[in-house]
């Protein structure tokens, strides 16, 4: 499960005009680890995702991936180095089918269209959507769209996969399916970071949790230890009902 750090974030600052979204955040992610990022809305979790993936430009600090500084690199270069992400609001290519959404990412790794398409078909099968491959993504349920987003992120053949709120807005009947896909991903040994509000997912899947609050790290440790901390309860989880 554990190993050498694959990702090292040091003193990361992201400033938007008057708002300091991240304020000197430092953490490591070890190879094969499943890390959970939790915290209230606006705490800086998704900004940290964006900074690592190249969607957000850091104001200060360093991000080292596999021994190589990546802060400020363009998003596609970071993706090519092996970091993939999904988005909180899914953000699929809405004019394309499910298969095309995955193929276009697979084609960045496979020059042959045929090979890329084959790989995309395998990935859709892996997430249980082979039967919807030719469907327009706009016609899919939110749960299916999120599965396409996972398949698209996997098509980039990542070493580190970052999943942003996969379970939010999901219908009850899709919940267990997505959970099993996430469990399978963990079992492959892929390094994963998830942003998630549903603590059951965090409890069941993650090796370690980092709690964000006001752009800083409030707590860090395994899920149960972190949830027991008074500061975390006060800021994010609330007190249990007696």
């Amino acid at each position: 499960m554990t190993g050498q750090p694959l990702l090292q974030v040091r003193d990361l600052v992201v400033q938007y005009d008057g708002l300091r979204a991240l304020d000197g955040v430092s953490f490591d992610v070890r190879r094969g680890e499943f890390l959970g990022l939790i915290g209230p809305n606006g705490a800086g979790k998704s900004t940290a995702f964006g900074a690592i993936a190249g969607t957000v430009r850091p104001t200060a600090g360093t991000i080292t991936f596999d021994g190589r500084p990546i802060q400020g690199l363009a998003g596609h270069r970071i993706a090519k180095l092996g970091i993939s992400r999904t988005f909180q609001h899914v953000r699929l290519f809405t004019s394309l089918t499910a298969l095309e959404n995955v193929t276009v990412a697979a084609a960045t790794r496979h020059r042959s269209r045929r090979t890329a398409r084959l790989r995309a078909q395998q990935l859709l099968e892996h997430v249980g959507l082979a039967h919807l491959a030719t469907s327009p993504v706009a016609a899919l349920s939110l749960g299916h769209q999120k599965l396409v987003a996972i398949a698209r992120a996997l098509a980039n053949e990542p070493c580190l996969l970052m999943l942003d709120e996969m379970m939010s807005g999901i219908a009850d009947h899709e919940w267990s399916h997505i959970l099993s896909v996430l469990t399978d991903l963990r079992d492959t040994g892929l390094t994963l970071i998830v942003v998630e509000h549903i603590m059951e997912i965090i409890d069941r899947l993650t090796d370690r949790v980092i709690v964000f609050s006001d752009g800083r790290i409030l707590a860090e440790g395994n899920s149960l230890d972190v949830q027991a901390q008074p500061a975390v309860r006060a800021t994010y989880l609330g007190e249990p009902i007696a």
């Binding site: 993936a53 363009a74 998003g75 596609h76 992400r85 988005f87 809405t94 394309l96 790794r109 030719t134």
Partner: protein, 340 residues
């Protein structure tokens, strides 16, 4: 058999044959032939524009830059150096591509409204430069080429029908290229960039590079239309090369007909150029901007009715008609860019 009937190649071939036959039965006089030639040329230019704006989502209001550079480069090389048009074509094309590169490098990352503004300012600047550099360009009076004796091999025809077929060949080639790009990996990347640039980058796609390449190809094709236009009219001036009316006549057909669709620019050019050419005599004594207003009103009216463009309106109208006649079977629409 069904696959063959649905193939864009079959549609484009059928279109080319139908349009090639038109002069023999539906174009009764030279006035209508002239409108048809201009419509075909602008349909070709709009198809080139559609490659970058429709597939890549990079709208520009300055494709007249490439049209004008193609026309001016050919005019100057023919007039001052006595070059054959075929010798001038590679030069015209190179100049347009270099101009596109100069435009793309600082602005391709920006996309959206910034590129629209940069391209519009650039074409207005070129119009001013062409007017100012009168020693080279003839200034506002432009360049009138000596027509000389007909030489079909050099695209100089005694009968305007020759220009009609040149324009048709150009348009058919561009449509074939557009269909091929749409179905290629490059086309898939362009559509991904258009739909969501940030998600495309996160999928490993170099967004700025896709936009730049599509713009270079589009610029090269548009410059060829400029060359064909010059060969037909034998005259070019700063306004007809780089002016806002020319910029509109390239962009509006695709916007009107349906961005990203194969047939949208063709339908758009047919409607808008016909309206513009028909109204030209009525507007001759009025301010020059009135033509643009008519274009704008038509596009806005259509956008209100069918935001995806006239080709979608036509398709749904035909489907509706088919249903009323009881001959239509409702079939699921495939996703992605319509090649209809």
């Amino acid at each position: 058999m069904t696959g063959l009937l649905k193939s864009p190649t079959t549609h484009i071939t059928g279109f080319a044959i139908a349009i090639a036959s038109l002069p023999f039965w539906l174009i009764p006089n030279s006035g209508i032939l002239a409108i048809a030639i201009v419509a075909l040329l602008y349909a070709a230019a709009a198809t080139a524009f559609n490659l970058t704006a429709g597939l890549g989502g990079q709208l520009s209001f300055g494709h007249s830059i490439f049209f004008g550079l193609g026309a001016y480069a050919t005019a100057l090389l023919r007039q001052d150096l006595g070059w054959n048009v075929w010798a001038a074509v590679p030069v015209a094309l190179t100049i347009a591509v270099v101009a596109a590169l100069a435009l793309a490098l600082p602005s391709a990352r920006l996309g959206g409204v910034y590129f629209v503004l940069v391209s519009f300012v650039a074409t207005l600047a070129l119009e001013s430069i062409a007017t100012w550099a009168s020693d080279v360009t003839g200034g506002a009076a432009g360049i009138s080429l000596t027509v000389g004796s007909p030489a079909p091999a050099e695209l100089r025809f005694e009968n305007p029908l020759g220009h009609y077929y040149v324009a048709l060949i150009l348009l058919t080639t561009f449509l074939g290229l557009f269909a091929a790009v749409t179905r290629s990996n490059f086309g898939l990347r362009l559509r991904a960039v258009r739909d969501d640039p940030a998600a495309a980058a996160a999928s490993g796609i170099a967004v700025a590079r896709q936009r730049t390449v599509s713009l270079l190809v589009s610029a090269a094709l548009t410059s060829l239309v400029g060359v064909a236009y010059l060969q037909y009219i034998s005259y070019i001036d700063p306004t007809s090369a780089f002016g806002s009316m020319t910029a509109s006549m390239i962009a509006m057909p695709a916007l009107f007909g349906g961005l990203g669709t194969l047939w949208g620019p063709v339908l758009g050019a047919t409607v808008l150029i016909s309206v513009q050419q028909t109204l030209n005599p009525a507007f001759s004594g009025l301010p020059a901007g009135l033509g643009l207003i008519v274009f704008g009103v038509l596009v806005m009216a259509l956008q209100t009715i069918e935001p995806k463009g006239a080709v979608h309106l036509l398709r749904s109208g035909l489907r509706h008609l088919g249903q009323r006649l009881g001959t239509s079977k409702r079939t699921a629409q495939p996703a992605g860019d319509s090649l209809t």
